[in-house]
Amino acid sequence: MELLKTDGVSKVFGGLKAVSNFDIEINEGELIGLIGPNGAGKTTAFNLLTGVYQPTTGTIDFAGKSLVGLKPYQITSRGIARTFQNIRLFSELTVLDNVKIAYDSHAKYSLVESVLRLGRYFKEEDEITKKSLELLKIFKLEDKAYEVAKNLPYGAQRRLEIARALATKPKLLLLDEPAAGMNPQETQELMEMIRWIRKEFGLSILLIEHDMSLVMGICERIYVLEYGCIIASGTPEEIQKNPEVIKAYLGGEV
């Protein structure tokens, strides 16, 4: 069943078209790759899907409803979460608080209930803490729960960012270069983790990545972006043989 569909999406900054006719479809449970050279517009595409930017033209439908005009927090509550190319944790907060903040968007207690310390406040806070610790355990971060996030090693910060995104209870997870800065062993572990996340959480995943072994190894379908336009889409095998893609990456005549 179709989860996300974009139609004729473009984004113009001044006179520059950062994204043009960005058309993709993602079905429930799919693991999709979005690749392209530096500056192709991949992160801009993510920013359009998450409401950071509003499209200049085109439509974005998620679970049958339009996302155009919604603010980022509203899109998150609809079920889209993301990580960032450059890690953007709440660095001065604890690892646990980073995850709890994401879970808090689902908490129902009011400020008055929390100040007066009524029953629902304790019940929900305990539940959020419990769920957050469970999530940290999955990502092998439970022993670091009360450490300040900026003190974590790089790989652990990456895992925390994914854990935090999952705490918003998404249907679609957008991963922006999750393997950036990782060594081959960490990349291999990440690949397994992404597969496991999809299966365990029943998510669709859209992945931007420069590491071709990772993309080709886990994605079912791949979209290729160049100069803001989708130039090819298909299975990893089809993409590897596509002359347009080879030209975009190698820059020569085929």
Partner: protein
Amino acid sequence: MDFFEQLIQQLINGISLGSIYALIALGYTMVYGIIKLINFAHGDIYMVGAYVGFYAVTMTKMSIIPALIISMVVTGLLGILVEKIAYKPLRKAPRISLLITAIGVSFFLEYTSMYFVSPTPRTFPNVIDSLSLNIGSFVINGQQLLIFIITVILMVLLTYIVQKTKMGKAMRAVSFDTETAQLMGINADRVISFTFGIGSALAAAGGVLVGVYYNSIDPLMGIMPGLKAFVAAVLGGIGSIPGAMTGGIVLGVIEALVSGFISSTFRDAAAFAILILVLLFKPSGIFGKNTNEKV
């Protein structure tokens, strides 16, 4: 009264005055922490709070605590309204535009208040029995006791809200990174409005307590305490809540000591001398962190 006794008495007076600076400074520091705006209209919000408290006491004959609560609620709503009308449309504008707007809002509040309540100072009714606590030769009067108690309660409550509630966690998240916070499902507009509301409510409490302490209020009463509370926020480390609390108390104590041992005419100069010294030697303040800016 020997030197030591006078010192203790001035410390008591200073903590009392500093508590009020701290309440006002919290509004500056919280708003700065969230949207990097020095809200120079904040002193006038404090003035409005004093007037709301004054009318609550004089017109309805209510006691000080209900009047304080009403003042905090009304002024909190005013703070939210000011943010919505004056600051929200300029959120993506250059910082200088916001600063100029804040000064404009300040004048608007001052002169609108003058129009409606007249420029004449009002005498705040005596709402506390003239009880005083005598510890040896030191005197803590009823007003000072009230200021201590109310300030401690409000600061504990604020710390609890910021540290233990989802709104508090959202405030901290937005202050670190607004865009990321929104992508975690946080409504940043609501958080910013709430921050203005809380900051304004605390300033209102300060305004009512000043009315009780000095028995006099007027439409321009917010100018000097507003500036001094800004000094307190910078001294403590702008953006830091413990910093605002500490900065307020430290500034109040320094002012009281200068008044008591040098000259009361030099009191205001001392406050601004502190600002200059802090900016020269520790611009990040007591609790602030030095940040490197990439150029």
